[in-house]
């Protein structure tokens, strides 16, 4: 996106939340197991444009990591669905 018109740079920083740091950690660890940053970047690039803008940085990265794990057959979509529902109900 270099060179495209854009607004003022807001020098914002936030102290990253625990879940965000864990997304970062999971990505690094899986990277060492062969899930490349290139695959994850490709998945980010494949997000629909509206989604890209609506999602925060780590929201995009957790989705792209999930996609990469599915693409590699490490986890299945069904497993994710089941587990997400379990976690949500667990409270």
């Amino acid at each position: 996106m270099g060179g495209l018109p854009a607004g003022k740079v807001e020098p914002t920083e936030h102290d990253y939340a625990a879940w965000e740091r864990r997304v970062d950690a999971l990505s690094m660890l899986m990277g060492r197991k062969g899930v490349t940053v290139d695959e994850r970047r490709k998945n980010i690039e494949m997000l629909p444009p509206e989604a890209y803008d609506k999602m925060s940085y780590y929201e995009r990265w957790v989705v792209s990591l999930a996609q990469a794990l599915i693409q590699r057959g490490i986890i299945t979509t069904a497993e994710i669905a089941r587990k997400m529902s379990d976690v949500e109900q667990r409270g």
Partner: protein
């Protein structure tokens, strides 16, 4: 390791993180301890590490040459743990100012300096820094004179970049520790310069 303590239901994405982590642990791919250790390792990677490299380069001209030649080897010389980092260090001079950006995503020397700030990953920084660096730097409060050449480095592939800021005047004879305290993360990205010593 839940975020429940904040009395808010988990968002879809937070749920996703817990889900991925628990599945990977169940499948024996990772352990919770490894995740915790990695989170801590990343927390320990702070810009102070880069500032130490800068201060050492300022006080050791031969080290500086080695740093500019091969950033990775030079950091390793100081005992810094920088797994897989391919570092290029670019030197600010009176007639040249360097600044780093990653237009394609958010490449940054994370294992040396830690997690990059939000603004570095923003659309505006990434689109505008390659095209109108002086204007963006001015928004950061840094005015670069017309006669100074600006080198913008777009971190597009395997290399990662750090700016070696100029040593501020009035710091002759200072210890490396004192010098390092003048070097901010923003100075190593190139949107700031090293602090001058407080006068008086």
């Amino acid at each position: 390791m839940s975020d429940r303590g904040k009395y808010q239901p988990l968002s879809y994405f937070q749920l996703m993180e817990v889900t991925l982590r628990e599945l990977l642990v169940e499948k024996g791919v990772l352990t919770e301890e490894q995740v915790a250790a990695e989170v801590q390792a990343m927390r320990d990677r702070t810009p102070e590490r880069g500032a130490r490299v800068v201060a050492h380069a300022w006080t050791h001209p031969e080290y500086k040459e080695r740093l500019l030649e091969n950033g990775t080897k030079a950091c390793e010389e100081l005992g810094l743990e920088i797994p897989a980092l391919k570092l290029v260090v670019v030197e600010n001079m009176p007639e040249v100012h360097n600044v780093i950006v990653c237009t394609l995503c958010s490449c940054y020397p994370r294992v040396l300096l830690g997690i990059p700030p939000d603004w570095y990953k923003s659309r505006s920084y990434r689109s505008r820094m390659v095209r109108e660096p002086r204007k963006v730097l001015a928004e950061f409060g840094l005015e670069i004179p017309e006669k100074t050449t600006i080198r913008v480095h777009d971190s597009t592939a395997d290399m990662r970049y750090m700016v070696l800021p100029m040593r501020p005047p009035g710091t002759e004879g200072w210890s490396e520790e004192r010098l390092a305290a003048l070097v901010s993360r923003n100075a190593m990205i190139g949107v700031a310069v090293a602090q001058r010593p407080a006068t008086g």
